[in-house]
């Protein structure tokens, strides 16, 4: 009778093992000796090396791909990669990103192409560090760093502006706004054909 209630095989004809058929019994307690073994485990652990990291003094590096604070990247000549498309803001499930794009003008060029991100804010009180914004970014302008010390004492301080998020100017970069590399268009930039700044773009940062 019991056998009829239990199918002999599952959908794919695989025989169920006897162990799977056996009724689960969890009311049988382990023997006293086995239970007392637990005391030995905790006692032994007392003499093991402590696993605690003395945090503010000692800082262990994070995992390589840890999701930390965001960073807005630059092209090798110093122009910003962000084009103000707002895809990151749309992707954000926590509604933590606010972007306002604007047109690049003659003499006021921040990024290659037509548009750049004029206002860029990330609210770290809302951000859940899921990384969907990074996946959404079409120009690889937005990435995440490993920085995790983001505590502060007011709400306002935790809304990071574009200045806080922009990556540093490296050697050979010219601080925007400045014109694009001579005789290139945005396509050259995206294909990685611009590898540094040109003297006509402005005075490059050295060191």
């Amino acid at each position: 009778m019991a056998d009829e209630l239990m199918p002999r095989s599952d959908e794919f004809g695989l025989a169920k093992s006897d162990a799977a058929k056996a009724p689960i019994t969890n009311h049988e307690s382990a023997s006293l000796g086995k239970q007392l073994l637990g005391f030995w485990v905790t006692f032994k652990t007392m003499f093991k090396k402590v696993n605690t990291v003395q945090y503010p003094e000692v800082k262990e590096p994070t995992a390589e791909r840890f999701h930390g604070r965001h960073q807005l990247n630059r092209h090798p000549d110093g122009l910003e990669k962000c084009i103000g498309c707002e895809l990151c803001a749309w992707a954000c499930p926590a509604d933590a990103i606010y972007v306002e794009g604007a047109d690049n003008k003659e003499g006021e060029q921040f990024s290659p192409g037509e548009r750049y991100g004029k206002v860029y804010q990330i609210n770290y009180l809302r951000c859940i560090f899921c990384g969907l914004c990074i996946e959404a970014c079409p120009t690889r302008a937005l990435t995440m760093t490993n920085e995790y010390e983001l505590a502060d004492d007011t709400r306002a301080k935790l809304i990071f502006e574009k200045d806080d998020l922009l990556g540093p100017l490296r050697a050979g970069m010219v601080p925007p706004p400045h014109p694009m590399y001579p005789n290139t268009d945005d396509g050259n930039y995206y294909r990685g054909e611009v590898t540094g700044s040109h003297p006509s773009q402005g005075i490059a940062k050295n060191d």
Partner: protein
Amino acid sequence: MTNAELISQDPGWIIALKGVIIFAACVLLTIMSVWGERRIVARMQQRSGPNRVGKFGLLQALVDGVKLALKEDLIPKAADRIIFVLAPIISTTTCFMAFAVIPLTGEVNFFGYTTAMQLTDLSVGVLYVLAIASVGVYGIVLAGWSSGSTYPLLGGLRSSAQVISYEVAMGLSLVAVFIYSGSMSTSEIVAAQDRWWYAVVLFPSFIIYAISMVGETNRAPFDLAEAEGELVGGFHTEYSSLKFALFFLSEYVNIIAVSALATTLFLGGYRALPGLGFTEQWLGGWFTLVWFFVKVLAFFFIFVWLRGTLPRLRYDQFMKFGWKVLIPFSLVWIMIVSTLRVLSQRESSNFLVVAFIFSVALIYIAVTTLIDRAKVKTAIESNITNYSEPDFPIPEIPNSRAEQLNG
């Protein structure tokens, strides 16, 4: 001279001074034991525990106390104000009072007076401790009731039910000690153990006491009253600031008090470990204080060890264990002990003693065999019911698809 005679000669100021010293020692011990517990439990979990405030974090408990004192003192609107304030006071004072009859040292020189470090020596000292512990339950019940809130009420009920049930087992475990020492005075019980500790002679009693003292103090694995997942904080959920600190203090003083009682009744109190009797004369007798605290702290370590190892019991399991295992077991044990005692006092023949022990063993075997048989029988029956069709309607198992696939 016995401790009772020594103490009876004390002038008033020495009694007062002793009271202050015992109180201070309890508070200090509490502070240190909070720190010690956190450190030891941390090590058992491979953490380092508090190590920031002072050397090795020694001042952690002190700082926590200051923090508690500086917190806002809230009294809920629905609370019964007078009882709400009274409850922590009751529970703290009672646990300190238990220490009055515990002998901390033997004969010592105390500011020119020969006395013993024991506040008073009642002829019914142990009963006094049990009575005081029972009064301490009022602190818990009243705290739960007066908070005017559901969780504290449930927590308070649980705590009190727990303390009362385990007090029965505790009291019964002490009966064997009374029978053997012929006294209920703490100092005389210590004196009666000068050859063999009662932890050895009355081992089952010692085990029952050790288990029930954990239940009595609401400590892990019997800390059902503070089951966070079920009851928030238990009876002291609505308490804050100094009133909470008092409950906290009383919990730890209680642990030290039951450990001190266990030391006194089962481990020879302030007496040195066997074979080290000569140390009792060191420092003019004051070295016995060291022995006393070594034993108490050993008990404290066991408390911490239990907390670090065992998960919390379910309420019904806990009650079942108390009423259906500990109490019947101690009752039978008391019968055996008292019979043996009577036989030895009447100087009966060895044959009679052996015959008695033999018959007890026979009864034990008979009873356990019957129980085992009953277990097997119920197991077989339950197996049968497991495999039979349930008596409620069940839907048919759709296996047509499986048949199709199998072809």
